[in-house]
């Protein structure tokens, strides 16, 4: 019978390439259990003393097809790639096409969008089930 040390050596030599990426991917998911495709936006928020924005894709796709935002509104499909400012939103651009107190809540409800924990980095979350070297 092989000793435990031999088995561990075998795993280290032959199985680590299999296990390592899996463990890394699993590790990424601990601590944060964001809903799939939640987006953190913090390019400007905390610099301006408000919480980061959490954009939930799941909530919006129940109500709108992807193309409404990613075609009609002109949102690039890359978290952090859109130059969104409160000024543009108030002018009816980006989020402001709906968030105007007519279709959805207006810009006076700061805490409903700026709802993230301090210190979060911009990016898409909850989707790291593949743990790939993604640019998401």
């Amino acid at each position: 019978m092989r000793s435990l040390i031999e088995i561990l050596k075998h795993i280290g030599r032959h199985r680590l390439p299999i296990l390592l990426p899996g463990l890394m991917a699993t590790g990424l998911s601990t601590g944060v259990s964001a809903e799939y495709a939640d987006v953190v936006l913090n390019r400007l928020s905390e610099q301006n003393d408000v919480r980061p924005v959490i954009f939930p894709h799941w909530f919006h796709r129940i109500r709108f097809r992807c193309k409404v935002c990613h075609d009609e509104l002109g949102f690039e499909m890359r978290a952090g790639a859109n130059d969104i400012t409160m000024g543009k939103i108030i002018d009816g651009k980006y989020c402001g096409l709906c968030h105007n107190n007519e279709i959805a809540w207006g810009v006076d409800n700061c805490n409903l969008c700026h709802s993230g924990k301090p210190g979060l980095k911009t990016g898409i979350r909850g989707s790291n089930q593949t743990g790939g070297p993604g640019r998401w």
Binding site: A25, A34, R65, S115, T130
Partner: protein, 181 residues
């Protein structure tokens, strides 16, 4: 250290399976993103409240979004501006350069139910069979199909949802399937 692709795929499947076991939806206050000290958090809809009403899946948002739209569990708006054109296309494409994996069947219909043609064409894919250098590497890097799959559409652990046509039984030709105008 060189990692063989099939080992990488195994690792991805294992990590996906581990995650799938953590089923259900976390409340916003416990998701690690929302600030539980924000008094407005109580006004936001909880994911479980909405998503538990939709056809269940094992991955992603745990929702079969295409079934949800086709069977009218949800009726998401197609446009804001009245002049926006809506074009749903029913055209399947078979891709056969998939190594030992089953062939890929790409269905335009569920994609165009959500997306506009211009979201993919020609920014991500040019409209020509075999002309796009798609590979699992580019997809895992967040390019091509990976711009959405693995980020917002079903994740890359679901090999057989794309690689869905067995090599042994497919007798037709790759590329666009059926009659086209």
């Amino acid at each position: 250290m060189k990692i063989k692709p099939r080992y990488l795929v195994c690792a991805l499947i294992v990590s996906g399976a581990i995650q799938a076991q953590v089923a259900g939806w976390k409340s916003l206050g416990e998701d690690g993103l929302h600030d539980p000290e924000n008094p407005a958090i109580e006004l936001l809809q909880q994911p479980g409240e909405a998503l538990s009403q939709l056809p269940p899946d094992t991955v992603g948002n745990k929702v079969l979004w295409n079934i949800a739209i086709r069977e009218q569990y949800i009726q998401p708006r197609t446009n804001i501006y009245p002049e926006t054109m809506i074009e749903v296309i029913d055209m399947d494409i078979i891709m056969d350069k998939t190594g030992e994996m089953p062939l890929v069947l790409f269905p335009h219909r569920p994609h165009t139910e959500w997306l506009d043609c211009s979201n993919c064409h020609d920014k991500i894919f040019i409209k020509k069979v075999d002309a796009n250098p798609i590979s699992m590497f580019t997809i895992l890097s967040g390019e091509h199909c990976g711009q959405c799959h693995g980020a917002v559409a079903f994740p890359l652990t679901e090999c057989n949802r794309c690689h869905s046509v067995p090599r042994s039984t497919f007798t037709g030709e790759s590329g666009v399937q059926g009659k086209q105008d």
